[in-house]
Symmetry: D2
Subunit: 337 residues, 4 copies
């Protein structure tokens, strides 16, 4: 931690700061500059509170030097984490496409789509039974009935299945039916929910909040990891920007940036990010070229009857065509799909 003192600070102030640091097991290393005095806190800066330091009346600025996350970092775990779900590997050379309907709406819908995406080469089926909706008057999902359909789809097709959990009281139920549990953007900082999924033994897909920073995203990850669950998949689902015609533009640079700094698999969600069909194919290919380990893509047998997010769901033929195109790009960057 680097602490910059105010211009009019005194020797007493410096003394007080040194004592403060020593009490916490660190040492003050003082640099008297031509204009300001800077104190380097030598030792484990994670034992210091930036807030307390900033509240000292003679402190001007506090600048942390170390990254605040540990378990997610490459320093802690240099090699890539590869998550294995029933033999399906996420984070390795093979890129995983996680496809299926936005919301589970009926047995017929889910089974039709499950068979279609499997035929196109997909190994993981997505589908939400609990839907966080901006309006309380909108369709909120099928609940446990939907989870049962997912389990049935798994049984019928052999696909690995994943779904969202949004209520801390449903974590156990969800974990009973599915292989991979997803936490949505709105719950990225629902810390108690993160702690709860940190206690189960299932891979977790964690989506970034729509205006969160990389640091906040990785600190949220740290909530899960620090409870003992080391199988976290980081999903870029886009951010809010000033552009009204794209729902949540993908900050594509975050994919390689997070890959460089953490050991966890990183995927992207072009469907929720783009919000419109015509952009999903180019952005799926771009995410693969940027190094994504997988994609979440929504597929619906009849998008115009979808109970939510119809405009962004691909039909099975559209999806099948995209799979081929993505495969070519994956190979061009040394991956398989």
């Amino acid at each position: 931690m680097i602490i910059v003192l105010k211009k009019n600070s005194t020797k007493q102030d410096l003394q007080a700061l040194s004592s403060y640091l020593e009490e916490r097991g660190l040492k003050a290393h003082v640099s008297e500059g031509t204009e300001v005095t800077i104190v380097g806190a030598i030792g484990d800066e994670r034992k210091l509170s930036q807030d307390q330091l900033k509240a000292l009346p003679f402190v001007d600025k506090v600048m942390p030097v170390l990254k605040p996350y540990k378990l997610a970092s490459r320093e802690f775990h240099p090699a890539d984490t590869v998550i294995d779900v029933d033999g399906v590997k996420i984070g390795g050379k093979e890129i995983q496409i996680i496809a299926g309907p936005c919301a589970i709406e009926s047995e017929e819908q889910l089974m039709t789509v499950a068979h279609e995406v499997k035929k196109a080469g997909v190994k993981i089926l997505r589908g939400s039974a609990y839907k966080p909706r901006t309006s309380p008057y909108d369709f909120q999902g099928m609940g446990e009935e939907g989870l049962k359909l997912l389990a049935k789809a798994k049984e019928e097709t052999g696909l690995v299945v994943e779904t969202e959990v949004m209520d801390i009281r449903n974590v156990e139920t969800v974990a009973k039916y599915v292989d991979i549990v997803r936490i949505g953007a709105r719950n990225m900082q629902n810390f108690n929910l993160l702690k709860e999924v940190g206690k189960i033994n299932k891979p977790i897909i964690l989506k970034n909040g729509i205006s969160s920073t990389k640091k906040e995203f990785l600190m949220a990850t740290e909530y899960i990891l620090s409870e003992g669950n080391s199988q976290v998949i980081l999903c870029n689902r886009g951010i809010r920007t000033f552009e009204p015609e794209i729902r949540f533009p993908l900050n594509i640079g975050i994919i390689p940036l997070i890959k460089q700094e953490t050991h966890l698999p990183v995927i992207a969600d072009p469907s929720h990010s783009m919000g419109k069909k015509s952009l999903i194919a180019p952005i799926s290919k771009a995410a693969i070229a940027a190094g994504a380990d997988g994609l979440l893509i929504e597929v619906h047998n009849c998008p115009e009857k979808a109970l939510c997010d119809g405009p962004q769901q691909l039909t099975p033929p559209e999806f099948s065509k995209l799979m081929k195109e993505m495969r070519a790009v994956a190979e061009s960057v040394g991956r398989t799909l």
Copy 2:
């Protein structure tokens, strides 16, 4: 709902759209323009799904005409809602300052601050026992022990007390000890938590998400109102912007805008918004001049020892001086404090 058709749409498309609307109890009113065809859906547009309409292959754009929230709107409830908590009125002519420490840290701290703010003229004491923290390694609050201290402070001073709830499993416990329950920014779209506090009989302070729109904020409010709890206080706690030197700048315009459109009391949180002491006084006065019905202001007897948010907490003498200044501004706009 206004539906703009694509340029090459056919009579069959128009027919299909009309049927779609009629099935849902609405009527199509067609305007053939020089360049595009526009369909007005006459009837209750809340019965339509924008997503489904946008997913129709011949639809270009869908524009809702009505506001999506009902119970929060002035159309539904024209007069101002005034919430009465043990005789303390929020939303009336008197502006309420809700003051106290960010986090409850000890009995001595809470009691000292409680007596100080009361002396300065405050009627409602704030204090958090559960703290949502970006890092799992930071102080997470005293939990139920903190709630007990709040109840004790109420008993000793007669102040109304408020605190935050962040876990759906704690709603009942929190409601047992305090008078007013607060939902923080990170939980603005934790919909199941909103539903749960919608079922208790206590006023709820709902803070806006750091990048949410007014519409999303009011739809979150609607989640509480639609469960039967009509005592919602809307708190502007600032938004994320590109300015690194102010934590969450206050969109001051949202105060009168929400006051004009809803009947609910609107307050502001200069402490969390500004994040630094020197800005709290001017922004508190600005919020009052803009029409706020109250403010959340953090006061700590020893900010540099605060376990969180020290830089933004006022000392009792600083707070007491601010109370006088705010009173002058309140009177200049025809309010009392």
Copy 3:
């Protein structure tokens, strides 16, 4: 400047860095921490290039310690700058309301409004003759004809007059006709235009860019000041946010923040910021309560016929009422108006 080295940096690297600093007249002060090595560059950090330092292969992070602006800072000029234009003072105890139409449209319009705002107590008349418009197909302003009308209005009413310049080739012409020259948000970083107005002897109102930071705003100011023109008035005209219903929300906290750090007068533009009539009165009062030295307020005798920005322009009676309300708030914070 504080330079954090990468973990695997060597003694040779440190040596290279020391030489780099010494060549530029600074000294390296090395702190070897438990995890990383930090180098404090002692001396005038403005002689260093952050970019060059960051490009060194063994450098991890570079953190400047000093503020990059000089002439605008309170360190350079501790007392408030009060600008005097023909006896009208900006930056003193008296708050100046700069009122008039958005665009100058005709002699009749300008004269009518000029007389009305003067009657209400205004001393400075605003009006644009050159209009930066998003679309090339929209009204672009009356040009020099408009400037002549402004000069005539000054002659008739004795009001100080101000207008916008947007083309470097018009700086001289504009300076010939008006007392105060305005640079709009889109030109905040039109650096050559800034340099040019830095050479004239007229006060300059500089508006912030819609997504610029405080630092960028003050560095733009520095472009004007460093050419010799010390009469700069900083105008907060709001920022782009995610809220679609307010045009450019005012970051109200920036007003006291800039007042604390610089010696220059700070004003606000509620009209362009809010974009709708119903918000102008509360936000004008809020800006005054927050410490603004003045306001730009648009007044039009017939807003629904205005060639631009009609929805935000007040009628003379609306404006006159607001003047009285603002006066009360100004007095409550120890100012006059």
Copy 4:
């Protein structure tokens, strides 16, 4: 244009609106809904002023139906525009990499880099002689001397050359020395500069403003096109976001979106967007996969001595390796490079 009336509007209001529309050659088509009255303005909506309509006291909302840009749209010009500069084609099947140093610093630097990028397969050399810098105290470019070096590099290598213009007074000079003229992000809405480059007969690269919308970007394009210059290349250089560790994240979705709506070539600038070396390769490949027609990539023979933007400039060997990788991705999406 669709005009929604306020709830309490009268027949007189409707009559007034009809007259207003008729005076401008349009017709009112009225839909009386259950809750509100909606008026469709049939005719050329570009003849209407949204501002004037919104300022009418009985109007609630105004929603345009048509896109405000014409000359840039696919409706106006359905086929892709392919720009030919001395036989080098931009916007066709071949992707053009425009490479070279950020700023021209010396003859040796420019010639070295020019030969290196040519060897790697590049056909267009970039280099700035005029640099817009946030601080007036930073290096501002070599000016006309730099332009002469560019012309010399062209002569020596046969490469097409491009550079930035930022001052309206330099347009002619710049056009004399280079083949392609670039307008930077800060000048995207320097409308008079746009008009001026609209009058020359050289291709223009127009970069988006850091917080501009697609609509504003295309309207700025329209300023150039409407002056008669139809050779505009749209460059995505990223946007400002809340992520502090990436300079200007690329909204990758905007590439296919603009390609779908306009006929103009679209390129991206991974160097200025990412701001750090380690992200340039993955994002360059992503932009190609997303459909970009070209890229601007900065190459410097000695980045740690670069006078600006060192951290983002590739060395010739790094660049040469990237060229090969990009070629593979280009081929995977059916393009050449």
